[in-house]
């Protein structure tokens, strides 16, 4: 578990994709400013019939499932004891950190009276009957856990840093302003380094307990994300309204978690021109079909028990979305059952994409598409509303891109072949 398993990705930060993402982020945050000045109605099509729109459905309900890579990897490595996947966990945790942090941020954009959020910390206001209360506390706690889990990457860097960028900036700044540098600056920077060095071994000792907390918390709140809709018995379509919502959401986030870990690895290998981690990925892909089979059996069994199977194949509006979700998950799993297809990066990618889309569509179906508050209500997200979501996602990717170039996050390329492969790829590019 040494920190030498990871390395920084040496590349320029200012790339064209960086600038595109930056523009999208700025547009999104500009619209968020409009929302706070003129009210939610100014940027969103949400209404009293559809009080939860794309922000809750995508950024929170689906976004946190997509951010379950860290959760899924932690189960795989620490509980199922596959330590050889350990080098892949840091990048998974980084994306989870962004996913959850920004889901929390989206909630603050979405809620009407965010300044009252401190009530979550006042015991007399606690309302344990509310699934939302549980989700909110767990998501906050998990975000802190993710930060702690990621801290070793920062501390290792701190250990070796010579503050070059900072010194450079300071030099320029003091040159322009003509103010003298504070004398004790170096001393203070040294103190920060010492603090990091003091903290690191202590954190390493406690880390396993934090990691296990990082497995417990998502198990709790991912199931509660399903429980949130249990109250809407008259509004959620019977194809999705079931007492098994918590269980379905829990398994759903697990298979999305593993699939997204595969996608992240493939995409970052491709984007950063590193060799593909085919062996690790195909090993991981073995687990996914088992999870999806359990999930699909619960879905079908529950529908049969409640006598809703005819509704599922009636090919009306709801049935079509249900079948699409079902086929995407089932199709992706079928591909992953084949050992041969699992060895190919292309098929791994395709099947993981299918499963993530299917799993995400399930969450959309529960939160938005299958939700019908009664006659006369309609909802389709407004452009500004979508751009806020796009801005937040862009910020997430932007942050990931930047941090892997600053901190040791990606798995270290150790073998000769891997390094050669990297050279080959770099030359081709």
């Amino acid at each position: 578990m040494s920190h030498d398993e990871y390395q920084r990705h040496d590349a320029k930060i200012l790339t064209p994709s960086f600038i595109t993402l930056l523009i999208l982020t700025l547009i999104g945050f500009g619209l968020i400013a409009v929302r706070f000045i003129k009210g939610i109605g100014a940027v969103s099509n949400m209404n009293d019939g559809y009080p939860w729109g794309i922000w809750i459905t995508y950024d929170v309900a689906t976004g946190t499932a997509i951010a379950c890579g860290g959760y899924a990897m932690a189960i795989l490595i620490y509980i199922r004891n596959r330590m050889h996947y350990h080098p892949m966990i840091r990048s998974a945790i980084l994306t989870s950190m962004f996913g959850y942090g920004l889901a929390g941020f989206s909630v603050m954009v979405d809620v009407g009276r965010p300044w009252n959020a401190y009530n979550f910390f006042i015991p007399s206001k606690w309302q344990a009957n509310s699934a939302m209360f549980e989700v909110a506390l767990c998501v906050m706690a998990y975000t802190v856990v993710l930060l702690l889990e990621f801290l070793p990457a920062v501390l290792t860097t701190l250990e070796r840093t010579e503050w070059r960028t900072l010194q450079l900036c300071m030099d320029r700044l003091h040159h322009y302003t003509g103010i003298n540098r504070p004398e004790r600056l170096d001393e203070r920077l040294e103190a920060v380094k010492d603090l990091g060095a003091w903290l690191k071994p202590r954190l390493d000792k406690a880390l396993i307990f934090i990691i296990v907390l990082g497995i417990t918390l998502p198990t709790m709140h991912q199931s509660s994300l399903g429980s949130l809709l249990l109250i809407a018995s008259t509004k959620l379509h019977p194809l999705w309204y079931t007492g098994f919502l918590p269980l379905l959401f829990l398994i759903n986030c697990m298979y999305i978690g593993y699939s997204i870990a595969i996608l992240e690895s493939v995409i970052s290998s491709y984007a950063f021109k590193r060799p593909f981690e085919t062996k690790e990925l195909s090993g991981m892909a073995r687990i996914i079909p088992w999870l999806t089979v359990i999930w699909l059996s619960v879905v079908v069994g529950d529908l049969a028990w409640r006598g809703q199977l005819p509704a599922a194949v009636s090919f009306d509006f709801y049935s079509r979305f249900f079948l699409l979700e079902f086929c995407l998950v089932a199709g992706g799993s079928l591909l992953m059952f084949s050992g041969k297809k699992r060895e190919s990066i292309r098929w791994l990618f395709v099947s993981a994409v299918l499963i993530v889309l299917g799993g995400a569509l399930y969450r959309f179906n529960v939160y938005l598409i299958g939700f019908n508050p009664g006659q006369g209500w309609h909802y389709f997200p407004a452009l500004a509303e979508l751009l806020i979501t796009v801005g937040i996602v862009a910020f997430e990717i932007l942050g990931y891109q930047m941090i892997v170039k600053i901190l040791p996050v990606l798995p270290k390329l150790h073998t000769r072949q891997q390094l050669d492969a990297k050279h080959g790829l770099a030359e081709k590019a």
Binding site: I40, Y78, M83, N116, A131, I208, L230, G243, L247
Partner: protein, 315 residues
């Protein structure tokens, strides 16, 4: 080592599933919540309503400051002479509508909070901003606690709580039986006090039910033989009598169990005494530490062992 850990993992999965199934089982044999007929409510008799909307204007006059309600302009009224809300909204707590089937078949209907005996909005509010007054039975909203998550709107089967979408400092708006205004000063809701035809009767739920039953008995031809709200969703304190079918008046056909009972039962089964999360955490800690120790020994062996890890994967 891979084997026991997998077995344990499956056990945990199984336990979670079992807990959920148990949750379903328990619901069937639930202890049903007690309906309190001494709480306050209103009986709206659609056959007596003449649609004068005096209740609407009284409601807004009395509650406008308390709920930051404003007058709603209509398109046909550029001078802003009338308050003309189209539906319940962030500015309107009660509303009279006319439903016309034919020239002979029509009925007025009054919308406002149903003040459920087991309100979904109270059950789901994460910060207790929505509460049910134990004595009066009124479902009351506190904007100083509310975070504006709008879960109450998702939860309400009648779509009663409304949100002020156009305001930078919005709040939820719904009827609170004039708890902080007219009820406090005069002991009666503004709408019931104003109604000139006695279509809105204010009183204890017990008295209202007795009166409704009396009317049904005395004039069987005049009414649907059903008191809407007597049993719907576990009973509501706002009751309806009507000649037209209730669902034609926009009052949905609902089951008699409160949705909040089902959802709370599942949530409580999973989180009872916080035992399950703690048990999960300790089990996982045990497994993870055991795995870490085992790995520490493996690590001392020459490099390359980790590469063979792939072989003891799933069978």
């Amino acid at each position: 080592m891979a084997k026991p850990s997998r077995r344990q993992f499956l056990k945990i999965m199984g336990a979670t599933g079992a807990a959920l199934v148990a949750g379903r089982g328990l619901t069937a044999a639930s202890e049903v919540h007690q309906v309190n007929n001494e709480t306050l409510g209103m009986l709206y008799d659609a056959t007596r309503c003449v649609g004068c909307k005096a209740c609407m204007s009284a409601c807004k006059r009395v509650n406008s400051d308390y709920g930051s309600l404003s007058y709603e302009r209509a398109k046909f009224d550029p001078d802003g002479l009338w308050d003309a809300p189209q539906d319940l909204s962030g500015s309107t707590r009660t509303l009279i509508k006319l439903f016309k089937e034919s020239d002979k078949e029509w009925s007025y209907v009054k919308y406002s909070c149903m003040h459920c005996q087991k309100p979904s909005c109270v059950s789901v509010c994460p910060v207790s901003a929505m509460t049910r007054d134990k004595i009066s039975g009124a479902v009351v909203y506190n904007k100083d606690t509310c975070i504006g998550c709008r879960y109450c709107q998702v939860a309400c089967a009648f779509n009663i709580p409304k949100f002020q979408w156009q305001k930078a400092i919005p709040q939820i708006v719904k009827c609170d039986l004039c708890t902080n205004t007219n009820l406090l000063k005069k002991g009666i809701t503004a709408c019931a006090e104003t109604c000139p035809t006695g279509a809105i009767m204010f009183g204890k739920r017990r008295e209202l039910l007795a009166e409704a039953k009396k009317r049904l008995q005395e004039h069987p031809g005049r009414y649907q033989q059903h008191i809407y709200g007597e049993h719907e969703l576990g009973g509501t304190n706002h009751l309806y009598l009507s000649r037209m079918q209730f669902n034609k008046l926009g009052l949905p056909i609902l089951k008699n169990d409160a949705p909040a009972e089902f959802s709370e039962k599942i949530q409580h089964t999973i989180y009872k005494g916080f035992i399950a999360p703690v048990a999960l955490y300790s089990t996982l800690c045990f497994i993870a530490i055991k795995n870490m120790k085992g790995h520490g020994e493996v690590e001392k062996k020459p490099a390359g062992t980790s590469d063979t890890g792939e072989t003891h994967n799933e069978p």
